[in-house]
């Protein structure tokens, strides 16, 4: 009886120890077959790089045609809202999450030893290439990662940068802009433009007051004109009479936010469109 008690105590201790080890470094499988993505940017890479039958679930954001560059690919794939319960129920052998989103769920999944890959927010193209390769390797398809990186590089090579360093200011719903040092900033610079957000006042959350945007002397105000079809105050801001006037003067360019919400080969398309808009604007001036 006493031996049994000792044995179970030892087993418990061993389990605890194992649990702690697993939490510290849950090994990633070489060829995962039930991948769950918990973040839109992870969704985009998983849907581009994995076999369809490898994907157990992506987030509900992947199907939003406004925010997701893979909304077509996401059709038919099971969705979650990134809650730990949903993820555990799917019994994944690999979870890919964002380093800044659904933190409590990710912490919980790590504690129970779920194999976890966390993706940061790269601030330049080198970081994008590295992230594509990391995810491709974790999915067991490093070759597809190389192909996607080659896509990105081909896209970037074919861009003819803007003839003059015009000033660009990105205005997203609620007046959020692209902060210096982010990937969006690298995209603007790659197109040969200057990101005005670096010089004008932004608040802590990265919002630009409309007045400041109007007086920023931006040659190009970059916003998403596609619209969601559903009203919100956040979107209404982008149709304020001040911005409508700048639009009539040809000082805005519309680029879908989904193309550069996330790191991926699609950001080359944004560089291309920005450079094209800058060329047209230079001719006008």
């Amino acid at each position: 009886m006493r031996n049994l008690a000792l044995l179970s105590a030892a087993t418990l201790a061993a389990c605890l120890a194992a649990g702690i080890v697993a939490a510290a470094e849950a090994p990633l499988p070489a060829h995962p077959v039930r991948v769950v993505s918990m973040n839109l940017c992870a969704d985009e890479l998983v849907l581009r790089l994995a076999d369809r039958d490898q994907i157990a679930a992506v987030t509900w954001l992947a199907r939003d045609p406004r925010g997701s560059s893979v909304f077509a690919e996401a059709a038919g794939v099971p969705l979650t809202r990134g809650l730990s319960e949903e993820v555990i129920a799917l019994k994944p052998d690999l979870v890919i999450a964002g380093a800044f989103t659904t933190r409590s769920a990710v912490g919980m999944l790590k504690r129970i030893g779920m194999p976890m890959l966390e993706l940061g927010l790269p601030g330049d193209f080198e970081g994008v290439r590295a992230q594509i390769r990391t995810v491709a390797k974790a999915l067991g398809h490093p070759d597809r990662g190389e192909a996607l990186v080659a896509d990105l590089d081909r896209g970037l090579e074919t861009v003819a940068a803007a003839p003059r360093p015009l000033r660009a200011l990105v205005m997203r719903p609620n007046g959020f802009t692209v902060a210096p040092g982010s990937l969006g900033d690298a995209v603007i610079r790659a197109a040969g433009l200057v990101n005005v957000a670096a010089e004008i006042g932004r608040d802590r959350s990265g919002q630009v007051p409309l007045e400041a945007a109007a007086f920023a002397e931006a040659d190009l105000i970059v916003l998403d004109d596609s619209g969601s079809g559903t009203p919100s105050l956040a979107d209404a801001l982008l149709h304020h009479p001040v911005l409508e006037q700048l639009r009539r003067e040809g000082r805005t360019v519309s680029i879908p936010n989904r193309l550069w919400n996330c790191p991926g080969s699609q950001v080359a398309e944004v560089v291309k469109r920005l450079a094209k808009a800058a060329r047209e604007r230079t001719v006008l001036q």
């Binding site: 609620n174 959350s205 919002q207 007051p209 409309l210 007045e211 007086f215 559903t230 009203p231």
Partner: protein, 341 residues
């Protein structure tokens, strides 16, 4: 029959007579201060000259589509809230009455939210203030029915608190049902109020409706004076109480409903300002109506200038500032009345 009462009603003390022009001048100055204050420095007078001359320069655009509408809306919304507060306090003979506390503002926000996020306001922009007015009218009617059943001072206030909570919860529900992903985050605007990035369109949407509401409420001044002697006395003095109630409910709904539809619900203005002007004009309800309107406009303008001058970014909501002033005021009032009661 009302002749013997007339001298008491018409007589005005000297400061009372000067109060309305003084407050009107103060509001005018605050409107100018509000126009001068913002997030980008530019030559406002040059911009004004450009605007008058019809030159479509950027400063003229910012002046005419951001600064001026913001200042005008502050004055209009503040006037509506102050006037409605004074009318409600006089009519209900309740020193704690206020469109915010009685749930009229929250219900207006609910109406505006349903209309805006369902897309109706996109099809017809007038639908937005009409939604707010419908919500406000519902709440004002409910409060009026309770008052007619003889609900006491605190009973009415508690009913308003309940109505406010219900409307707030339904607003949150409506926003969570709204298809746009940003909608759920915008509850802060509707419950706390803000004048950020409004445009001249909003001014034209609410101005005519507000004017009608103001006139309806101002027309009840003498009836409110008579009502302070009791309903029977007022009726015997020849006031048609049904018409008075109808004008007050409709006027409050038009003024508060259209205001909330463009600015969100800004609390406590209608509660505070009648108490501030009463020492200057006396206890007669009719004497406090116009001064309360102007004082309300001044209060909202000051709050809106403050949120831009304070170094908090993103900008504080207006309701935060008015609650910082108004909530302690409400608690003080409660203590005061308990001491007297």
């Amino acid at each position: 029959m009302s002749a013997p009462l007339r001298p008491a009603i018409v007589e005005r003390s000297r400061p009372g007579r000067l109060l309305v022009p003084a407050l009107a001048i103060l509001v005018g100055m605050l409107v100018l201060a509000s126009i001068a204050c913002g997030y980008a420095a530019f030559d406002v007078s040059a911009a004004f000259a450009d605007w008058l001359a019809g030159r479509n320069t950027l400063p003229a655009l910012v002046l005419s589509e951001l600064r001026i509408p913001r200042a005008l809306l502050g004055a209009l919304v503040g006037f509506s809230l102050g006037l409605t507060g004074a009318v409600m306090q006089g009519y209900l003979r309740n020193p704690l009455a206020d469109p915010g506390i009685l749930g009229i503002s929250s219900a207006a926000a609910l109406g505006a939210v349903i209309v805006f996020y369902s897309g109706m306001a996109g099809a017809l922009s007038l639908a937005l203030p009409l939604g707010g007015i419908a919500g406000a009218a519902g709440a004002a009617l409910a409060i009026n029915l309770l008052a007619m059943r003889g609900t006491g001072t605190l009973g009415l206030i508690l009913a308003g608190v309940g109505l406010s909570s219900l409307a707030g919860a339904l607003t949150a529900l409506a926003l969570n049902f709204a298809p746009n992903p940003y909608a759920a985050l915008e509850i802060v605007f509707w419950l706390m109020g803000s004048l950020t990035d409004r445009s001249m369109d909003h001014v034209w949407l609410c101005l005519p409706l507000m004017l009608v509401g103001w006139l309806l409420m101002l027309s009840t001044g003498r009836a409110l004076d008579a009502l302070s002697l009791g309903e029977d006395t007022a009726a015997s003095l020849g006031f048609d109480l049904v018409s008075v109630r109808l004008r007050i409910v409709t006027g409050a709904a038009l003024a508060v409903g259209s205001g909330v539809a463009v600015s969100g619900a800004i609390g406590f203005v209608g509660l505070v300002v009648p108490h501030l002007v009463r020492p200057l004009v006396g206890a007669r309800p009719s004497a406090s109506l116009l001064p309360s309107g102007f004082a309300g406009a001044a209060l909202v303008l000051v709050a809106d200038i403050a949120v831009r001058l304070l170094p908090t970014r993103p900008e504080l909501k207006l309701g935060v500032v008015t609650a910082l002033v108004g909530a302690p005021f409400l608690i003080g009032l409660l203590f005061h009345h308990r001491g007297r009661g």
